[in-house]
């Protein structure tokens, strides 16, 4: 379990077929919700990212794969940067769209 108020890293991509934002899950599968994503500390993130890139290329699954910072606190997970918050939820100006619409 991550400690409270800690900044960790998650790994994200866009799914090749439809562009949907996905996150690397704990078992190496790609998941659609940030809450289900695997979180890594700084040292573990780099090899995990390299492995994810190689796997995605092999499987033709995801593109534009990168790691980003996630703050983990009492209220849950929140991407540190607005860009990743918007990717994780959907446009702030259309809360009826994106992943937030299904929440």
């Amino acid at each position: 379990m991550p400690k409270q108020d800690e900044t960790l890293k998650a790994i994200t991509a866009n799914r090749l077929r439809d562009g949907t934002v996905v996150f690397l899950g704990p078992d190496g599968r790609w998941v659609e919700a940030l809450d289900e994503a695997a979180l890594f500390d700084e040292a573990a993130a780099e090899p995990a990212l390299a492995a994810a890139k190689a796997k995605a290329e092999r499987e033709q699954f995801g593109v534009d794969i990168y790691a980003f910072d996630v703050a983990v606190g009492a209220d849950g997970r929140l991407p540190v940067k607005m860009r990743e918050r918007i990717r994780a939820l959907g446009p702030t100006v259309r809360t009826d769209l994106g992943k937030q619409a299904a929440a």
Partner: protein, 562 residues
């Protein structure tokens, strides 16, 4: 009845069998490329340039498909198709852009060949809406209808489109290349912020010719295009443009993406040297091969023949009665309706900027409604403006009240064309992978703050333009008030410029002071406006007041509380 067959008289170029075959073959080519990517035969590195050549970007939430609307002119049938694609393949809406194109934000790669095939059914495509090629040629949204028009820019924009589509020399330019053309006394196409800006005009002998401006553009290094030639004869139109593009292709920098646009080349070579190079190339090119024959121009012009206007009195009594009876309608006519060259007709701007709305967005239902209104009131034709609005260019004055009522019912009757609520805004960080900050929420907050139509009218002409990053898709540099979103350690801030001008007296705005938070920015806009209202003389525009009293009073009003 305005017409017999909806769209039959619309001022668009109609594809012939060769055009249809070409676009159809291109769709099938892309279908195979997508299949090869999905099967793993193509890597992303190999595939990316292929999808970009078909207008398909990868943005924050999904693929974004940018569809070409040549010189911003659409038939009602084409708009209905866009509405249908929005409903079937996207999330029920589309976004009209500052390049008179339409973007869908939630496209699936695997659907894209089918979408392109559906577009081809209505003579549309997404070619050259991305990549280092000649992009959609833009023009005056009132083209063919404006009272002050001298030359019909559609004719020459279409000639350019045909000439540059898959032109082998210009498919891999140093960077993207944007051309705007205007043929009226007033510049409604912002020609001097383009790589090449063309002013079409007539001489005393009645001949058509062109003034060329080169090296304009916004982005990281904004420049106003410089005049390179006052008069290019019609027959030399293609040759002269080809000469410019050849010089750019030869000398433009490919080693540094930030210095690759023609504006940098013109700046670094100097106007004199650049002009000399172009003239030398032009002298080599001139000849039968590049001569634009009058028969070709006439054939293209035939596609843009005026619709069969009725013979009407210059002023409509029905319009005057409706204006007198309905102040809201009278306001809309005053603000959103422009004079038409044909007696008894008018040009109606349909604002896609309701107070608190998302600039340039239209739902599929709204697109279908506007398509129906175009059929009913404007010969089945409509236009997209670079200000992200729609235009019905040929409306009988007698029909304006009925049109307005239909628009009002659909939330499209906002009377703010050219006013403070008519904000240009790029998609910003809510959609765009390049953006540093959000643009849309700020546009919504400002338009909501200034929602009162009487207040807007009292302020008068006011162009607010917002970009979410330095690439300046929202044209912030030439906003009377420009706003640039910046990221400061993960927080969105906004930098305000004042004094920008997109017309022929083009000016790049000056930064007013330190950047502000979103909430502070809305207050700052109000402070600027209030300073203007307090200091202006009778009938004085914002830009004129700014020139007369300078920046200091505006700066003081914005930063007084800081």
């Amino acid at each position: 009845m305005n017409h017999i067959a909806p769209g039959a008289h619309a001022g668009i170029y109609r594809y012939d069998s060769i055009d249809r075959q070409f676009v159809g073959e291109r769709v099938e080519q892309f279908r195979k490329q997508v299949a090869r990517r999905l099967s793993g035969e193509l890597t992303e590195e190999e595939f990316k340039p292929l999808r970009l050549m078909n207008g398909l970007y990868l943005q924050l939430h999904a693929y974004m498909l940018r569809i070409a609307v040549p010189y911003g002119v659409l038939t009602s049938r084409q708009l209905r198709k866009l509405a249908e694609i929005g409903r079937r393949y996207d999330k029920g809406y589309g976004h009209f852009t500052t390049r008179q194109n339409l973007q869908f934000n939630w496209i699936r790669l695997e659907d894209t060949p089918d979408i392109l095939a559906e577009l081809a059914e209505v003579d549309m495509h997404a070619l050259q809406t991305s990549g280092n090629c000649v992009r959609n040629v833009t023009t005056d949204q009132f083209v063919g209808a404006a009272r002050d028009e001298v030359v019909d820019g559609r004719v020459y924009a279409e000639i350019l489109r045909q000439w540059t589509t898959l032109h082998p020399e210009f498919t891999y330019l140093p960077r993207k290349f944007k051309i705007a053309i205007s043929g009226a006394d007033h510049d409604r196409a912002a020609v001097r912020i383009h790589d090449v800006g063309v002013l079409a005009k007539r001489n005393e002998a009645g001949e058509t010719g062109f003034a060329f401006y080169v090296g304009g553009g916004l982005g990281r290094s904004p420049f106003v295009a410089k005049p390179v030639r006052e008069w290019v004869a019609e027959e030399d139109f293609v040759a002269y443009l080809e000469a410019i593009l050849r010089v750019y292709n030869q000398y433009g920098r490919r080693d540094n993406i930030y210095k690759a646009r023609i504006k940098i080349l013109v700046h670094e070579l100097g106007l004199e040297r650049f002009t000399r190079e172009v003239e030398e190339e032009f002298a080599r090119l001139r000849g039968p091969k590049y001569r634009l024959a009058p028969e070709i121009v006439a054939e293209i012009r035939r596609h843009f023949a005026p619709p069969p206007f009725e013979e009407l009195p210059p002023a409509s009594e029905a319009l005057e009665r409706a204006r007198a009876a309905n102040p809201a309608f009278a306001r809309w006519v005053e603000v959103n309706v422009a004079e038409h060259r044909a007696p008894g007709y008018a040009i109606a701007t349909i604002s896609l900027k309701p107070a608190g709305g998302i600039p340039g967005d239209a739902t599929s239902e709204q697109m279908e409604l506007v398509a129906g209104l175009a059929d009913r009131y404007s010969f089945g034709e409509l236009r997209v403006s670079h200000a992200q609005n729609l235009v019905l260019a040929h409306v009988k004055q007698d029909d304006l009240f009925d049109l307005w009522q239909a628009l009002e019912t659909a939330g499209l009757g906002t009377a703010n064309a050219g006013l403070i609520g008519d904000i240009i805004a790029c998609p910003g960080l809510d959609y765009c992978a390049l953006a540093n900050a959000r643009s849309i929420p700020l546009a919504q907050a400002i338009s909501a703050r200034f929602a009162d139509p009487e207040r807007q009218r009292a302020i008068g002409e006011m162009g607010i333009k917002i970009s979410g990053c330095i690439n300046a898709c929202g044209h912030h540099h030439v906003g009377h008030i420009g706003i640039l979103g910046v990221d400061k350690k993960g927080t969105e801030f906004y930098q305000i410029t004042v004094g920008g001008d997109p017309t022929l007296t083009t000016a790049i705005g000056d930064i007013l002071g330190p950047s502000l938070t979103e909430a502070e920015t809305v207050d700052a806009i109000e402070a600027i406006v209030n300073t203007y209202l307090a200091r202006r003389t009778e009938g004085e525009r914002f830009l004129d007041t700014l020139k007369r009293i300078g920046h200091t009073p505006f700066k003081e009003s914005v930063y007084a509380a800081a």
